[in-house]
Symmetry: C2
Subunit: 429 residues, 2 copies
Amino acid sequence: MKIFVNPGKEQWKELCLRAKQSESKPVEEIVLKILDRVKLDGDKALAELSLEIDKREVVGGFQVTEKELDEACERLSEALKAAIETAVKNISSFHRAQLPKEITVETTEDVVCIQRPVAIQKVGIYIPGGTAPLFSTVLMLALPAKIAGCKEVVMCTPCDRDGKVADAVLYAARRCGVDKIFKIGGAQAIGAMAFGTESVPQVNKIFGPGNRYVTMAKQLVGSTTVAIDMPAGPSEVMIVADETCCPEFVAADLLSQCEHGADSQGIVVCDSEKLANKIADAIEVQAAELPRDEYVLKSLANSRIIVLYSRAEMIKFANIYGAEHLILSISDGMKAVDDITAAGSVFVGNYSPESAGDYASGTNHTLPTSGWAHSYSGVNIDSFMRKMTIQNISASGLRGLSYTIIKMAEAEGLAAHANAVKIRLENEE
Amino acid sequence: MKIFVNPGKEQWKELCLRAKQSESKPVEEIVLKILDRVKLDGDKALAELSLEIDKREVVGGFQVTEKELDEACERLSEALKAAIETAVKNISSFHRAQLPKEITVETTEDVVCIQRPVAIQKVGIYIPGGTAPLFSTVLMLALPAKIAGCKEVVMCTPCDRDGKVADAVLYAARRCGVDKIFKIGGAQAIGAMAFGTESVPQVNKIFGPGNRYVTMAKQLVGSTTVAIDMPAGPSEVMIVADETCCPEFVAADLLSQCEHGADSQGIVVCDSEKLANKIADAIEVQAAELPRDEYVLKSLANSRIIVLYSRAEMIKFANIYGAEHLILSISDGMKAVDDITAAGSVFVGNYSPESAGDYASGTNHTLPTSGWAHSYSGVNIDSFMRKMTIQNISASGLRGLSYTIIKMAEAEGLAAHANAVKIRLENEE
C-alpha cells in the first residue's frame, strides 16, 4: 500500500483522484441503441434483447408472479428473515423521522405561501444481479419510497438463465411493498422504466446501482426523460485516523470497501508514519485471508495512505476529497463532524464500521461517489418527494404587492406580466 | 386559439405535448468544443471566445469591480430599489422558513443516526442577458443560497459590447450578497464555473436559466462535473378555470406566459365551451394591445384551450401535464390543491396571478418545466444544501447489530463487510 508522507498542497488534488474509468464512448453508443429499441418496440424489444444479450428466451412474460414470490419467501431461511427484519425496523424509523412538514408563511398580509411535500407518484428501482444478490439495496430504496407515499414502486432486476431471481431479493421486495417486479436487467431495464412498455409502467424517477451499461442508461435518460437518484461512480471510503484508532479496524474497513469491485477506492488519512505503517501491515495480513481477492488486489492498487501531521489538515483533505463513506477514527469524532462539509455518510468512532451503515444502522447506503458528495445528498426521504409551492392571495393581498410586481415586471420589459396585475386591480370584484 | 372540446383519453397525451424543440445535435457539438476550450485554457479561452462569439475584447479582466457596482447602485431609481426591497423581504422570509433541521434518531440502543443539513460550499448562478435584464432571477437564486449558508456565491452574466451589465442586475447581486460577479455569458460561463479558471472559481452546483447553448452546457457538465439545479425547458402555464373565474384574468395570465418566448406554452382547461370561447375572445383582445407580440403570436400557436366537463377530469389532466405554473381559477381552489400531484408552483384563486410568484409573493420562480414537475421541485432551500448522515455507534450498539450485519453481508457474499464487524467484537476494548 502506497504511503504519502506530508504531501504538499499542490499534490492534494492528484491524491484525491479516483480510479480512472475506461472510455465511455463505445458504451454510450451501445446503450443509445438499446434505449431506442426499447422506446420504439417496448416488450418486443425487451424480449429480443434478452435473447441477444442474456441468451435467454423470455417465457411467460417479464413480471415475477405471486407464485414465484410465495416460493422464494418460503425458501428463505428464518435466520436471514430475522436479520432483514431488524434492518427494516432501523431503516424505517430513521427515514420516517425525515418526513418533511408542510410550511406556511404569510409573507405579507393576505399573501399566503405554502411549501408542500408531495410524493413522486411512480418510482423505479434497479437492483443488479451479478456476483452478489444486493437485497439490502431493495430495503434502502423501497422502504423510503413507501414511507414517502409513492403510489407505485416498480422494480427491475436481472434473472439467471433459468429465469430465477435470488430468493432474498424477492423476499425483500415483497417485505418492502414493491408493487411490481420485472425480470429485466441491463440498460434495457432502465429504458423500460423510463419510456414504459406494454408490461412495464413508465416511472417518474429511477433509483439504484448498476454496471456501466445501466449507469450510462440512467445518465442518458436522466438528462432527457426521467429523473434519476444521482450520478454513479465506483464505491469509496476515506478513513481519518489518529492514535486513538485501532489499526486492525481501519484495515478491515478499508478492505470491506475494496471487495466491492476492482475500481473501488480506500484512502486512509492519519497523523503519523508509525500509524501509517501499522495500518499498511494490518491490511496486508487481512487481505491475505479474504476471498474475492481479485477485486481486493485491484482496488488496493487504487488506494493509498496519506500522512498529514495536523488534525486540521486531515479534515481539510477529507473535505476536498468529499468521500462517499467517511470514517472518523479519531478522538472527539463528533466534534470533528462539525467541520465536515462534504461526505455522503460519516461513521464516528471505532465501533461504527461502514458495514453498519451498509446494512442495518438505519442510514441509507445509496450515497454520492466520485466527489459528488460536494453537491448531492445520499438517498433520503426527500429523494422520493417533491416540494410544491402554493400561493393563495386575496384581492387586497394582491393590491399590497401590486406596486412591487408592476415596477419589477416593467423594468424587466415584461408588459403582460404587469398587465396581469393591472387588469385585476381595475376589475376587482 | 385552438379549442378542444371533451377530447378522448387517447388524445390526452398528445394534448400534453410541449412545443417541439429544434434538433440539439449541432448545439451539442458547438457547446462541447467551447467547454473543452475553457477546461483546457481557462481565462485565455474565455477571452478568445468573447472575441469570437460576442465580438468583444475583454479589457481589465472579467470580474465586475466594486466601482462598477457602486455606480450601478447609484444610478438605479429609488422606486425600483423599493420594489426590490419588498421582493427581497418576502422571498427571504419564505425561504428562511424552509431551513431544514437536524434529525437525530437512536434506531437501536447505542446506535445514533443523524441527518444533518450542510450548505453546499460554492454555488454558481447564471443570469442571462439578452432582451430583458432578469434581475428577479438574481433574487430567486442568490437569496436562498445565502440563507442556506453557501460560503461562496459566484455569478456570471453577459455584458453588452461596451462591457456593461444592467444596473438592476448588479444592484440585485450586491443586495443579495453575491461574492463575485463575472461578465461572461453563454456556454463558456457554465464551463468556467464547472471547471474553474484563473479568474472564476470552480463551483459545486450551477443554477439559472439560459439560452440553448447555456442549457446544453449545463446538461453536459451536469452529468459529468458539477450538479445543476434542474433540466431546462421553455416556460409554461396551465390555467384550470370554471364559472367562478374571470375570463379576462385567465387571458392576461396566459399572455404573460406567452411573452416569455416563442416556445412558451399556455394551456387553459375549463369546463364549458361557453367559457372557452369567452377566454379565447379575451386573449385575442388583449394580445392585440401587447408589445413583444412576435413572441406572443408564436407561443399562442403552441397554446390551446381544452374543455373537460368535470372537475375531476380537469384535475386529472393537470396532473398528467405537470405544469411549471398551475393556476386554479376554480371554486374551492385550496381544496383542489390537495389532489394536485405534479406542478411546480400553484396559484390559487382569481387574485393569484403567475406574475405574483414571478416577482414578489415569496415563492421561487425557478421551477421545473416540460413535465419535470413530476419528479423535480422548484428551487428551494434544499437546492443549496445537502443532507449528510452520521452514525455514532458504541461497542455495545455494534454488538446489538452484529447478528444482522454479519448475516446480511454473508448472504450478499461480502466477507470483508462481515469481517469489519467480527474483528471489532473480537477485539473490543
